[in-house]
């Protein structure tokens, strides 16, 4: 199996973490988004939508991280807590995976984009009111994660980790990588993060998050041609 990934990307991190946690053998195919490698002719043959992650299992190509996670867990039949077979715990995982697309993923990405990508593309810091609005959105998502999805449980489904927690932590770490410490003032979130880290293994967690935690190194050394190519798209997004 091949996994086309850039660990800057949250959905790539969740796929990477679950594949490693389940000991699924795979070839890591690095697609460097900052160098515009997703626009290469070669990658276009893998995914015409030019996004990561992508999974290639023999001739079967699959995009969308939550689809890939379901496929991997079903195929490799690891411990069932990753994607429970019981009706209601499974529903809770599906509920989280569905909710997060337009909530934590969107709000966490927005903060990251404004803090890291905006200055690169627009030549100045993001306007305060945009940043404040983005932070409000992120705070709302984090509150819902804590108060609705976690509540008093150790993990989203209860006593055991599932793909929902992995997807959640990958998203939470995105604004963290951009310098926003979302854990300050959120003891419940801290404790949950530490539990997730312990279940995945500290080393694996660190490996998955190494790139995002050093994102400023990457942005300072970004390929100028690739940057120019990406500017129109981002300028449209930010306007």
């Amino acid at each position: 199996m091949e996994l086309y990934l850039d660990l800057c990307s949250q959905p790539c991190r969740s796929v990477f973490l679950v594949a490693k946690a389940l000991n699924i053998p795979f070839d890591f195919k690095h697609v460097d988004l900052s160098a515009g490698q997703n626009y290469s002719e070669e990658f276009g043959k893998i995914n015409i939508m030019r996004k990561v992650p992508v999974m290639k299992d023999a001739d079967f190509i699959l995009t969308e991280s939550t689809a890939i996670l379901d496929y991997m867990v079903q195929k490799h039949r690891g411990p069932t807590h990753w994607f429970p077979s019981e009706l209601q715990p499974r529903a809770r995982v599906n509920e989280y995976l569905s909710w997060q697309h337009t909530n934590l993923r969107t709000t966490g990405s927005k903060v990251f984009l404004l803090k890291v990508v905006f200055p690169m593309m627009m030549g100045c810091d993001a306007p305060k009111e945009k940043m404040d609005a983005a932070m409000d959105g992120l705070n709302e998502s984090l509150s819902l994660l804590e108060n609705y999805f976690l509540q008093d449980k150790p993990f989203i489904i209860g006593n055991q980790i599932s793909v929902a927690d992995v997807v959640a932590i990958a998203e939470v770490m995105q604004p963290v990588g951009s310098g926003v410490d979302v854990f300050v003032g959120r003891p419940k979130l801290c404790v949950w993060r530490d539990r997730v880290k312990a279940q995945l293994g500290e080393e694996l967690f660190k490996e998955a998050h190494e790139v995002i935690m050093k994102i400023s190194d990457l942005t300072q050394n970004i390929d100028k041609t690739a940057l120019e190519m990406m500017k129109p798209k981002f300028q449209k997004m930010f306007s």
């Binding site: 015409i48 079967f60 969308e64 939550t66 689809a67 209601q88 569905s98 697309h101 449209k236």
Partner: protein, 241 residues
């Protein structure tokens, strides 16, 4: 006791859940929650879904939100025909792929058109800047093209020869901008043909029933009490403009 579904048929995900439940003869009690009248802010509804969104499901003591997760729950619990959410690994993956792509891929764009074309001018009396509308229409256009070229291609339905949850979820999103007056099917014979197949597979009567309110939206919005919606103005402006 029958499963309770809390729905507002103006909402795309409510329509997919409704059609799925009814087509599969799942014993459900439909409870209408009028978003325009703020019924999702009631204390009672807050106990069903603290996130205060529709659709929501209550099965005895178990409540949940999120339409796709709800359909997956109903499919499993009531053992609906396999084609709705296939057990086969690769077929299921294709359904999941669409279901995961669609929130940002089409739902976002179709909803935005609905708000920009209908809700903002009629309810909030906001004139939408030309370039915002054009940008939104461009985004919708790109999404519809992707649906045709990548997700449907030459197949009868998204996952193959038979309808699945993916088609239900797709069609309701496409009907939203359509209801706002954008002819999404113009110059898109493939999309139109697929839509007709979906209508046939669901049953025309059920499809029409599910879409009755939204297809009357242009008239219905004129009856909305704008003063009740004022509290939402800042949020609507922030999200849509």
């Amino acid at each position: 006791m029958a499963l309770e579904l809390f729905l507002d048929m103006f909402s795309q995900p409510c329509r997919s859940v409704y059609m799925f439940a009814k087509k599969n003869n799942i014993p459900v009690e439909v409870r209408t929650i009028s978003l325009m009248n703020g019924e999702h802010f009631s204390e009672e509804f807050g106990k069903v879904n603290p996130i205060r969104k529709v659709p929501a499901l209550k099965d005895g003591d178990f409540s949940m939100g999120e339409s796709i997760a709800m359909m997956q729950y109903m499919a499993e619990k009531f053992k609906t025909p396999d084609h709705w959410y296939p057990a086969d690994l690769q077929k299921r993956a294709r359904v999941n792929e669409y279901l995961c792509w669609q929130p940002m891929g089409i739902r976002l764009h179709g909803s935005k058109i609905f708000w920009l074309k209908l809700m903002l001018p009629s309810v909030f009396k906001i004139e939408v800047p030309k370039e915002k509308m054009e940008g939104a229409l461009e985004d919708l256009d790109s999404s519809l093209k992707l649906i045709e070229d990548t997700f449907i291609q030459d197949r009868a339905f998204i996952a193959g020869e038979q309808i699945s949850m993916a088609d239900l979820v797709a069609v309701v999103e496409i009907m939203q901008p359509f209801a706002a007056g954008v002819d999404v099917f113009k110059d898109r014979p493939k999309l139109l043909a697929w839509k007709e197949r979906v209508v046939q597979a669901v049953g025309k009567e059920l499809f029409d029933e599910a879409h009755e309110s939204i297809l009357n939206a242009q008239e219905a919005v004129k009856l909305i009490d704008s003063s009740k919606m004022e509290a939402f103005r800042p949020r609507v402006i922030r999200l849509m403009l």
